[in-house]
Symmetry: D2
Subunit: 375 residues, 4 copies
Amino acid sequence: MIIFQRRNGEFQGVGERLQKTIIVETINSMKKIGIVGATGYTGVELLRILATHPHVEISFVTSRSNVGLRVDAMFPNLRGFIDLCFSDPNSDELADCDLVFFATPNGVAMKQTAELLKSGTKVIDLAADFRIKDIDVWSQWYGMTHACPDLVEEAVYGLPEINRDLIKNARLVANPGCYPTAVTLGLLPLIRSGNIYLDDIIADTKSGISGAGRQANIGTLLSEAGESFKAYAVDGHRHQPEIAQILSLACGERVDLNFTPHLLPIIRGIHATLYVKELNEANTIQNLQTLYEDFYVNEPFVDVLPEGSHPETRSVKSSNMCRISPHRPSTGSRIVVLSVIDNLVKGAAGQAVQNMNLMLGFNEITALMQPALLP
Amino acid sequence: MIIFQRRNGEFQGVGERLQKTIIVETINSMKKIGIVGATGYTGVELLRILATHPHVEISFVTSRSNVGLRVDAMFPNLRGFIDLCFSDPNSDELADCDLVFFATPNGVAMKQTAELLKSGTKVIDLAADFRIKDIDVWSQWYGMTHACPDLVEEAVYGLPEINRDLIKNARLVANPGCYPTAVTLGLLPLIRSGNIYLDDIIADTKSGISGAGRQANIGTLLSEAGESFKAYAVDGHRHQPEIAQILSLACGERVDLNFTPHLLPIIRGIHATLYVKELNEANTIQNLQTLYEDFYVNEPFVDVLPEGSHPETRSVKSSNMCRISPHRPSTGSRIVVLSVIDNLVKGAAGQAVQNMNLMLGFNEITALMQPALLP
Amino acid sequence: MIIFQRRNGEFQGVGERLQKTIIVETINSMKKIGIVGATGYTGVELLRILATHPHVEISFVTSRSNVGLRVDAMFPNLRGFIDLCFSDPNSDELADCDLVFFATPNGVAMKQTAELLKSGTKVIDLAADFRIKDIDVWSQWYGMTHACPDLVEEAVYGLPEINRDLIKNARLVANPGCYPTAVTLGLLPLIRSGNIYLDDIIADTKSGISGAGRQANIGTLLSEAGESFKAYAVDGHRHQPEIAQILSLACGERVDLNFTPHLLPIIRGIHATLYVKELNEANTIQNLQTLYEDFYVNEPFVDVLPEGSHPETRSVKSSNMCRISPHRPSTGSRIVVLSVIDNLVKGAAGQAVQNMNLMLGFNEITALMQPALLP
Amino acid sequence: MIIFQRRNGEFQGVGERLQKTIIVETINSMKKIGIVGATGYTGVELLRILATHPHVEISFVTSRSNVGLRVDAMFPNLRGFIDLCFSDPNSDELADCDLVFFATPNGVAMKQTAELLKSGTKVIDLAADFRIKDIDVWSQWYGMTHACPDLVEEAVYGLPEINRDLIKNARLVANPGCYPTAVTLGLLPLIRSGNIYLDDIIADTKSGISGAGRQANIGTLLSEAGESFKAYAVDGHRHQPEIAQILSLACGERVDLNFTPHLLPIIRGIHATLYVKELNEANTIQNLQTLYEDFYVNEPFVDVLPEGSHPETRSVKSSNMCRISPHRPSTGSRIVVLSVIDNLVKGAAGQAVQNMNLMLGFNEITALMQPALLP
C-alpha cells in the first residue's frame, strides 16, 4: 500500500512508503477525539465512521487489556486509516481531547466523566450510565450504585429527533440504546398524536447478534445462535424503562408497554414491530401515512417509506438511517408500525457521531451520508 | 455403498452390489403411499421421514416436470433410501395407494381428491385446499373457485391436539398451515380458559425461509434474504383466517387477531410470539405454567418448557415437537406466549405423517420420535 | 408430553405423567454406556444418536462443571430422550459401563483409560490422545507428555474402512479426527492405486464452525465468523501428521501433503478438495470413477456419487455418510477429488457409534441409517 | 427526510420538502455517467459507490424490464441518493454520457459498444465480452459468436495493477472477472519472480453467492445454498482461460493451472488459496514476505498483511482492497498464498470505478477509500 495524507476529507496519494502503514496527516484545526474502550463493536464502528470524517482527528484510543497493540492489528479493516496503538484508559492525555466517547461496559463512564467535563472535554457515553433519570430505577436494572447522580440530571438524552437543540449545547450526552432508538422513532408520531392508548403498547423487537457485544460467550457462538431464533429477557429487559421514560417525556403522560426482545441470527440490524391501539373511532388518525411523513419531513435520518412498505434491516446496513412504515391491517384491532435501524450505527456509533456533529458545531450529517450496503 | 433390505424397520446389509443403488425391499403387508408433487420442501421432507417408517412403502412419487428423473438425483440425501423415479401425477396407479399426500401448490389437490376417495384411497392435503370451511373466504384469499366444496365440508382439520378422534376416522385430512400450527398450539390453553379477550390477540410470527417454498424467486435468494429480516403481508395474510377459524371453533366464540408474519434468514423454524390480554383481575389465570402443563400432559408432540424458558427454534429442528413457554412479564399488560416448531415437520410433513399414522391405525408417533438436530 | 417406554427400539406411549419427564425404561440386556465430557458438541451428538439406539442404555454422562444439572436442561432437544443428570467424571460407576466414550479435550482420556480397561470397560476416545503412533510427534503437536505410551501402541485407529476387523476386537479405539476422515476416505483409492506422487498431495479443506467446539471464544462468535471465510493454521495443523500417518500406513510408503484448513460460516460440514498428480501417462488411472466405485462397493457409509458430481455438505448433514466425487478437469495437471462429511457425525460421534457397534458386536449401521437433513 | 444538495462531494441540508425525495443537484462540470443493466448486483453496487463520487453525475440508468420504475423503489438503500427512474437501454441519450458502464449479462455490451465509442463515449464492460483476446476461446466458453472482434483487440484488460497506463488512455476497458482479480493479484509477484513452475499452479477459490447474480434460480435460494458448501464447475470454468491469459501475458510464458471454484454461503467475498511450486532450491525465493511487500508497495488497493496472517473475507467487505498473505508451510512442497477481495467491489464495481477514475483523469482512489464494514 502507499501512504496517504488526508486533507479536507479527501485522501491524496503520496507515493512514499513509510513503515508499511498509511500516515494520515491531520490538519491542525481538526478537533481531537478520544475513544475509551474501542475493542468492542461500538468502538470499532466509531473508528470506521470517524476514519473518513473531515473535521476530527482520532488522537486517543484506549483498551485496558491491549495497551501497545496496534488498533489495525485487531481490526484489519482499519489498516491505512487508523495509525494508532491502544492506550491506557487512565491516561491524562484523555483530557486533551475536545470530545471523548465511552464505548465501554455500563458503569465505566460514570467514574471518569466528571473529571473530563471539568477539564473542558465533552463526553458522549454509548453505554447506559446517563440514560435513566430515576437513579433508583437505574440501580435496580444495572445492579450498581451510581457514581454521579448529579451528572445524570445534566446529561442530555442523545436522540436528535427529540432533543436536537439540547444536544447542541450539551457537555454530556447519553447516547440512546439500540432498541430504544428503533422503538421511539417508530412510535413518536403516534405518541404525540394524542389518539392512542398509552398503557397498551406492544414492542416486539428483533436484534442482530452484534448487539450482544464482542465478549467470549457460548450463547452467541455461531454454532449456538446461527440457524436459530429465540426471544430473551421476556420477563423484563433494561431497555424497557428507558423506552417508557423517553416516550413518557415525549407526551407528558405515563406510558407502559410490553417489550419483547428477540435474537436474530444476523450480525447487524434491529427490526421493531410495534402494536398500538387507537383511542376510539372519533379520534382515529385520519391518515397514518401522512402523519408519519409530516412528522419526519425535516429529519435527515428518518425515512418514511412509501405506503404499504415492509422495511428490511439490510436497507439500513452500515447506514445511520431509520426506515419506518406504519400499517393499519385488515384484521385485528391494532395499528402496526415497522421500524428498522442498524443497531451499530443509528443504534450506537452513528447516532453518537450525529450527536458529536451537533455538539461540535459541524453539519449534523457529516461522515454519515452513505447508502446502506445492499446486498 | 452396499445394498440394504429393510425388514421391520431395521436396515440389514446384504453385501451385494446391484445397479449402484440400495434396494429397499419392502414387506408385503406395508401400506402403499403416494406423494404428489414431491419436488418441493414438504415433499422431500415427507420422503425423509417416511424413508425410515417401518409400516409404509413409498410406491409412487410424482412431479409433472421431472418424469423419469431419479428422486435421489434431485435430493442426494435420499440416496440409498428411495429407489424411485418421479412419475406423472395423472397416472392411474395413484389410486392403488392406500394413502396419497398432496405436497402441491394450492388448487391442485381439490382437482384429484374426489376420484381418489372414490377408489378408496385416503388423502392428506398439505396445501390449503381443504383448510377453510367458508368457501367464500377461501376463494377471496386464494383467488380461485373451489372445485369441490362438499369435500371441504367433509375434510378434517389435521391438528391432532384438537381433532385426534376425527382424524382417525377421516378419509380426507386438511393438514394445517405452519403458522396456524405454531399459533394455535401456543394459544389453545388460554383460548379454552375463557379468561382472555378474544378480540384483542396479537400473533407476531417469524418463519424460516423454507416456508416460502422451493421456487426460483429473487426475494428468497441467499443474497436477498440472508443477513436481513423483514415483516411481510402485514396488511393481510392467508393464514390469518385459518387461525381465526380454528381458534373460534376451539372456543365457540368469534376470535379476532392481528397476525404479522416475518421472514427469518434461517432455513427451518417458526417462532410465534403471542400477546393475550386477561379479562379482568377476578378471572385472572392463577398459574399460567400449570395451565399449560396440564393442558398438554398427554400430548406426545407438545412440550411445555420449564417456567421462564425461552424456546429456541433450533431445539425443534428436524423434529415434530412444538415447544412452548408462557410468560407474564413484569411490565405491560399482556401475557406473552412463546411457541416454536420446525415449519417443515410439525408445520407440514411431520404433522402429515402424524395424521397418516392416526388414519392408518399405526402408533401415532411412529417414525417421528427423534431428538432435534442440535447444534 | 406423555411418558414413553422404549422396547426393542420402538417408543410406546404409556399415557401417564410422572415428574413431567419421559421415562425411558431400558431393557436389562442393553449394554451400559458412559460418556465423559458430554457438554461439547461431540458429546451432545453422541447423546442424540444413542438416544434411539435399540441395544444400548446411556447410564452415565459426566461434566465436571455441571454435576447435578439435568442433561436436557442444557440440551433441550434431548427432552424426553435422556433422563439423566451430569455426574462427576471421577466416579467409580464409570467402570460399570460396558463402554465409555471420551468426548473430552485432548489429554483427558489418557489419564483414565488404563483403569477402565483394567475393569473390562472398553474405551473410544473422540479426542486425539491415541491417534498418533509416534509419541514424540504427538507431544510436539499437542504440547503434553503422554500419560500412557503403551496404550497408544495398542489403540486401534477407528476408521472402519481401513481397520474394520481390528476395531471388532479392540479394547481401545482412537476415533479419527474430522479432517483426517474426510481427507483419507477421499484419497484412499488413489493412494492404494500406486499411480500417484505420494509427496505432492494437496488437501484444501473447509470445516463448519462446530469443529471449533463449544467453548466461549471471540473468534467463533456469530458476529466474528459469520458472513466471512478464512484459512487458519496454514503453517501447520495437528491433523496434518495424523493424515500423513494413516495414508502412509495405507500404502506402506511415506506420504507428504500440504494441508490447508479453512473456517466455513456454517455449523456442520467438512468439504475436502484434494489435488493429486498421477505418476506418468503409462500408469495413468484408466477410469477414475470405476476405481472409486469398486473400492467402496461394500462400504455402508461411503457413497461415490455419479460421475461429474459436486457433493454438497448439506447432503450429509446429520448423517454418517461420506460422499465423494473424483474429477479429472480439462485444464491443469491434477486429479481433483471432492469429499464431504458431517464433521460431528462421520467426523466424530457417528463414526464413534459405528466403532461401538463393531466393538460390541451389533450390526455396524445400527442407529446410523437416516437420510441427511435437507434442506 | 429533508432535501439535500450535493456540492463538491459534501451533502448540504436544505430544509425543504420536495416530492418526498432528496434532490441531488449536481454541478455542471461533473462527468455524465450511464449504467446499462443496473438491476443486478454489480449495477446496484456501481450506484452505491458512485452516489458519493464528487466528480460524476449518474444521468442514465437502464433496465429493459423495469422502464419507468424508480431506481430506489427496487433498491431502498439508494433512497435520497439516486433520483432516477430506469430507462430503456436503447435510448439515444446513452451516447450523451461521458462514460457508460455495462453491468449486463455476457453478450450485451458487444452489441452496443461500437456505436457508443463512435460518439465519443467511453465504455467499461463489467461482463466478459472483451476479456478474452482469443475469439475462438471466448466463443467456446461463452457459447456465442462475437459481434466485434476488432474491439476485443483494442480493449484494455482493466486490472490497474498491471495495465494502469493503458487504462488511462483507453476508450474501452474490459473489467476483470472476480476470481481472476483475486487469483492474479495473489500470484503476480511469484509469476514475475521467474522461480516457480508455471504449469503446476493450483487455485482453490471460494466465492460468496452474490457472484452468481440476481437472477431467480433455485440453486442460489437461501434454503438451497445456506448452511452448505460445495465446489462447482470443477471440470472447467470460464474464468480459467481468463486467468491463464492474464498470467501468461504477465510473464511472457504459457501458464497452466487447476482452477476449482466453490460456493460460499455468504453474500460477499472471495477467498483464493493458491498453491505454487518453486523451481528448485537454488532459485528458491529468499524472502516471500518481502517479495510481496516490495511488489505492491505503491498500490493503493493491494494490502500485504503482516507475515503469518490469514486474511478474512470480512476484512474487505464493501471495500476495494485486496488483502494478501503468502506462506511457506512446515509440511508439503508448496508455497501457499491467501488472497481476499469483495467480489462486488474489487471484483466488479469498485474496480470498474477505479478504472473510470483513471480513464477520466480523476485521482484513482476517489470514492473508493472507505474502511471495510466489520463486523
